[in-house]
């Protein structure tokens, strides 16, 4: 009898241990209620069904699918992932946003003026700005944010010397450069947000807990609720510098599987989704959806790895490049020319300084055979394993190399391993790498790919070319447009001559939206953030 009792108790224990996690539901509820502490009534992004798969989402909420969770902590300085940065861009406003053509849209700043010698930037702040909690937003916040970021990350440096920030009065920020830097404007505006001094100074950390902290915002939206693994729910900030957002709420819905996201869009559960060319079939020629292809300024490239034994001979490298056909590789990856633009330089096509007056290594099988005749016949190609388009590129390259009698092995690796491979300087087992980058607008932003003699430059392509080093520095030290044009044309030519780096072109990112989403041109499609300013988006 005693034993039977014990056995019952143990059974209970087992059941309880299985339920332990369930017990935590309380904490979950707690976290939720804390996150929703603002106490406002939650408006439901209620979705209603209608016939023929057509869908009406509540007109005041815009829902976009994101592929990965941002995590419960946001750090406006150290965020590097796309969705963390997108969240930053929702919550915090920058001084200004630079467009891909180099023009400026002011946000917190009313104007930014440059002194004649190019060393002093005077920023006038818009009057009567407020944080989402009603506190005034002043030049003091700006200086605080920039100094804090510089302290933590050394973001604002020119050739090893810091840029300084001062606020002579509440509406003026004076930025002083240690020496002329042509890309200073981009450096000062891109991915740099103004943070509330009155919050962070006493907090001691720039980590924001999305579950618990009440976030004081300057951006177009404030965070209403974060649900781990599910969504980020934003509601408009009435104090945004460019005026209240046109759409009441925005939801970033976390959907990891592309198939699921595609169905969700067809079902009308979401309004926008970034699709790959081979997955957007259901939305093409469909009046309920709009397809927007836009450039992120991403350059897809092939790099011949000079850290490998096989790639030491420049003529052999030239031979390899002459075996390749850009168009074929890009078509293999992106299915149709409407999804890519071929490019011949390290700058994305469309950049002000882009030139095609350089060595293009156009395909020439005979010449390629000749040049590679005495070189290795077995090569290895690597790329990030999870990137399906790069895998297709690798297959195309493999087939093209076969034409000139070279056998190429394809080996995909994980992201972490890939960066390790990229930065490997000796005895690399990989001969050819496939990659892509989004760097910025000013050509100097591309210096870190090729410059080998400066501290802090990653030199991702493993260059060792004095001319290239010199040209990048020269180009940044002058403000004269024609001179810069000339210098960067030479730099683009010089980079190609080493036969290490082979640009393929710029792929376009495809945003599919439901037809009731308006104002996309005003909200501007941009690299990383997808939308430059979501406050301009309308829902009909």
């Amino acid at each position: 009898m005693k034993k039977r009792l014990l056995s019952i108790l143990l059974c209970c224990a087992m059941a309880v241990s299985m339920m332990t996690g369930c017990g935590n539901v309380d904490s979950e509820e707690l976290a939720k209620s804390q996150a929703a502490a603002s106490g406002t009534e939650t408006t439901t992004a209620a979705t209603e069904e209608s016939s023929e798969g057509e869908k009406t989402t509540a007109s005041n909420t815009f829902t976009i699918a994101i592929e990965a969770d941002t995590g419960n902590t946001l750090n406006p300085f150290t965020s590097t992932d796309r969705y963390g940065l997108m969240t930053n861009n929702m919550l915090f406003a920058p001084l200004a946003r630079m467009n891909t053509d180099g023009s400026i849209d002011y946000v917190i700043a009313d104007s930014i003026e440059t002194s004649e010698d190019g060393l002093v930037y005077t920023v006038k702040i818009k009057e009567n700005l407020k944080w989402s909690d009603g506190e005034p937003l002043t030049a003091e916040d700006v200086v605080y944010s920039y100094n804090a970021e510089n302290e933590a990350m050394q973001t604002f440096y020119v050739n090893g010397a810091p840029i300084t920030f001062e606020n002579p009065d509440d509406l003026t920020v004076v930025i002083t450069l240690p020496e002329v830097s042509a890309n200073a404007m981009e450096l000062l505006t891109s991915e740099n947000f103004v943070l509330p001094k009155h919050v962070f100074e006493s907090k001691g950390t720039f980590d924001i807990n999305l579950l618990q902290d009440e976030i004081v915002c300057s951006g177009p939206y404030t965070l209403k609720e974060y649900q781990a693994g599910q969504h980020l729910y934003f509601t408009k900030n009435p104090n945004y510098a460019l005026g209240e957002a046109k759409t009441e709420n925005v939801v970033f819905k976390i959907i990891e599987k592309a198939d699921t996201a595609s169905l969700a869009l067809q079902n009308g559960d979401i309004n926008a989704w970034i699709g790959l060319p081979d997955t957007i079939g259901p939305f093409e020629d469909n009046e309920n959806y709009n397809i927007n292809n836009y450039s992120e300024g991403r350059v897809a490239y092939i790099r011949l790895n000079t850290a490998s034994e096989n790639m030491q001979d420049i003529n052999y490298r030239k031979g390899i490049l002459k075996a390749l056909d850009r168009e074929e590789i890009m078509t293999a990856a992106y299915t149709d020319p409407e999804f890519f633009v071929l490019g011949y330089s390290f700058l994305p096509k469309g950049n002000k300084y882009y030139t095609e007056d350089l060595e293009k290594y156009e395909q020439n099988i005979e010449e390629a055979k000749e040049l590679t005749a005495n070189g290795p016949k077995e090569l290895t190609i690597t790329y990030v394993r999870t990137n399906a388009t790069e895998e297709k590129m690798a297959l195309a390259i493999q087939a093209e190399l076969k034409e000139i009698g070279i056998n190429a092995q394809i080996e995909g690796v994980e992201q972490a391993a890939f960066m390790d491979v990229v930065l490997e300087r000796e005895n690399s087992p990989y001969d050819i790498m496939i990659g892509g980058y989004v760097m910025g607008i000013d050509p100097y932003a591309y210096a870190s790919l090729f410059v080998s003699d400066q501290e802090g430059m990653m030199n991702m392509m493993n260059y060792d070319n004095a001319t290239v080093n010199e040209l990048f520095v020269k180009g940044n030290a002058t403000l004269d447009e024609t001179e810069r044009q000339e210098i960067y044309t030479q730099a683009q030519q010089a980079v190609m001559e080493d036969a290490i780096f082979y640009p393929l072109g710029t792929n376009l990112r495809t945003l599919v939206t439901t037809s009731n989403v308006g104002g996309i041109d005003e909200a501007k499609l941009v690299p990383i953030y997808t939308f430059s300013d979501l406050s301009k988006l309308t829902m009909e």
């Binding site: 996690g21 539901v25 992004a45 693994g229 599910q230 079902n267 994980e414 990653m458």
Partner: protein, 317 residues
């Protein structure tokens, strides 16, 4: 008996410690740093170094391990290296989400399997058996993701009976009805996923038991078939299932990776997989320790239960 239980628990503690050491060593043997997975081409070398320093990746491995273990013992699970988010908060939300999905599915599958297995086993090679066994074959051969997509397409998209994905509709987190609507599809997928294996187990066990002498004796006494099956055979069939149940305990954490990913269920599966891919070792370690603990706990419980329910084992002691 209490002494035995106490002994087993004490044995489990060093085992847990060994698990943490093995996990940590293996992860550190990987030739990359977590920081490698967040480097972007526009980062400067300083930025990378800053991050490495901040994450403590420049410390010796032993120090890293010590720090981590010490924090864990104090209940501090630390921060993700890649996204710098608090692991504790993530787990507090994600583990219950996974359990709320896996537990009902497993229990349903378990109960169904007992009935189906007994029926199939007692009708060996008859139509009932062929039907159930055929279903199991199909079930085992069907990839979860495919079945999930089909279900999602039909119930969620085509007929619009259920919401496509997620755990709640925004703003309806407290509504149980809303939860159930989101729950049904992944629940069906998981139940169907667990069922074939368990059913086959029960079936095999039943067939084995039916050959035993005591069945013959009961038949000789003129007992009815149903009576033999449910009164005598079922008891013996259920015994090995205790082991199955104990072993299923870690599934509460890692039992639904694919299903969770497809249905955007905010569980532990996708979180764990992503952490492994980016070598986010604090997350990987915490989840490994957690599921390791559950393995040990599951074993412990099934051992003890076995010992209590089976008089033969008791007498062997």
């Amino acid at each position: 008996m209490l002494k035995y239980i106490g002994k087993r628990i004490l044995q489990a503690i060093p085992l847990l410690f060994v698990i943490t050491v093995i996990c940590f060593t293996l992860i550190n043997l990987a030739p990359y740093d977590a920081v490698d997975s967040i480097i972007t081409p526009d980062m400067t070398q300083e930025e990378i170094e800053y991050r490495k320093e901040e994450y403590g990746l420049n410390d010796p491995v032993v120090v890293q391990y010590g720090k981590w273990l010490l924090n864990l013992l104090q209940g501090d699970m630390g921060y993700s290296l890649v996204s710098h988010t608090s692991i504790k908060y993530d787990l507090i939300i994600r583990i219950p989400a996974t359990i709320s999905l896996v537990l009902p599915s497993y229990i349903t599958a378990f109960l169904l399997a007992i009935v189906l297995g007994l029926v199939a086993g007692s009708h060996k090679n008859r139509w009932q058996d062929k039907l159930i066994d055929g279903f199991c074959s199909i079930g085992i051969a069907t990839p979860t993701f495919w079945f999930a997509m089909i279900l999602m397409y039909l119930l969620g998209y085509k007929w619009k009976l259920l919401p496509l994905m997620g755990m709640h509709t925004i703003g309806m987190e407290d509504s149980f009805a809303d939860f159930i609507q989101h729950f049904i599809m992944p629940y069906i997928v998981l139940t169907i996923g667990f069922l074939p294996d368990l059913t086959r187990y029960v079936r095999g066990s039943t067939i084995g038991q039916l050959k035993e002498d005591y069945v013959l004796v009961q038949q000789a006494f003129g007992a009815k078939k149903a009576e033999i099956l449910f009164k005598h055979v079922s008891k013996n069939v259920l015994l090995p299932l205790i082991t199955k149940l104990g072993m299923a305990l870690p599934m509460l954490v890692t039992g639904a990776v694919i299903t969770e990913t497809i249905f955007s269920w905010p569980g532990i599966g996708p979180y764990f997989v992503k952490a492994i891919q980016s070598l986010d070792y604090p997350i990987v370690m915490n989840i490994l320790v957690l599921s390791g603990t559950l393995v040990i706990l599951g074993n412990l419980l099934s051992d003890i239960l076995y010992c209590l329910t089976d008089p033969r084992i008791k007498s062997m002691k």
